[in-house]
Subunit: 151 residues, 2 copies
Amino acid sequence: MAVSEGLAIGALAERTGLAVSAIRYYEAQGLVSPWRNAGGQRRYQRADIRRLSFIMIAQQFGLTLPEIRDVLSGLPGNRTPTPADWQKISVGLRSHLDQRIATLTRLRDNLDGCIGCGCLSLPKCALYNPDDRAKSHGSGPRYLMGDAPED
Amino acid sequence: MAVSEGLAIGALAERTGLAVSAIRYYEAQGLVSPWRNAGGQRRYQRADIRRLSFIMIAQQFGLTLPEIRDVLSGLPGNRTPTPADWQKISVGLRSHLDQRIATLTRLRDNLDGCIGCGCLSLPKCALYNPDDRAKSHGSGPRYLMGDAPED
DNA sequence: GTAATTTCTAAACCTAACTTTAGATCAAGG
DNA sequence: CCTTGATCTAAAGTTAGGTTTAGAAATTAC
């Protein structure tokens, strides 16, 4: 009953649509842990297809790789995750998404009242939201401020 | 009636909360166009405070600098923008934001039905969304795929 | 008039998330 | 056995959005 030798990285890449280089990168970031065969090549479990799919979806939701690694740590380490296991960690994803939607919705509402009137006069205006984690790269701006319209 | 000589870059930085280096960077990207004084230093109009505020807000909304440059090109070039001018270009921002919210909401709904059940079986699943511009950096993955759960 | 600030430019550096490259080794087919 | 294709590692390159650094010139303050 030849227990499968596992998937080669190329096969996994084909199944997930990820580049081979990306899969190796995820390993370097601690997101997947293949074993090595006699020749030193990476071998993956079939369950890793699901794991990589999850990573891709979580990225669409705006999570960073370290964040995804943390979420994945909620899966059992001693056995293949069941649908129930995946469901469990998906709850975290869902709330992350809820928060992002709430933030954007709030920004939109503020936009209607603030830029909408043409004043852009922050921080009187609610668009002044230093606590929003919409900040992506670099160090970014710290606050928004305009002055009274006078021309 | 000493018409003001314009704002120095440091003053503009103070008014907006942006770093001096960021303002120079925005100029390099074509987002602001100061003039130079006799000594070669940049001088800004008061209206540029508003312009930079707009840039910061648009960034919170997820627009890239080239996108923001395009939106700003909707402002009149021959005179100081009026509140009505700002309102006009804000409409584009608003629709951009609406789209992002709609995309995320759709993702959330799909999450409930797809990852929620633990199957992660894409592309049968609606989370397969190659057209979403949630793709941020690098070249990223092209599609999502899992296989039938069998363990 | 001199010292302390600002500002100037160009180039290098930074993070995230990868890709590309180079040269070497492994695995599979005939 | 030999060739072709897949994989390996390490290091450098890429994009976005900036920051940091260095040395020089302009401004401002006293």
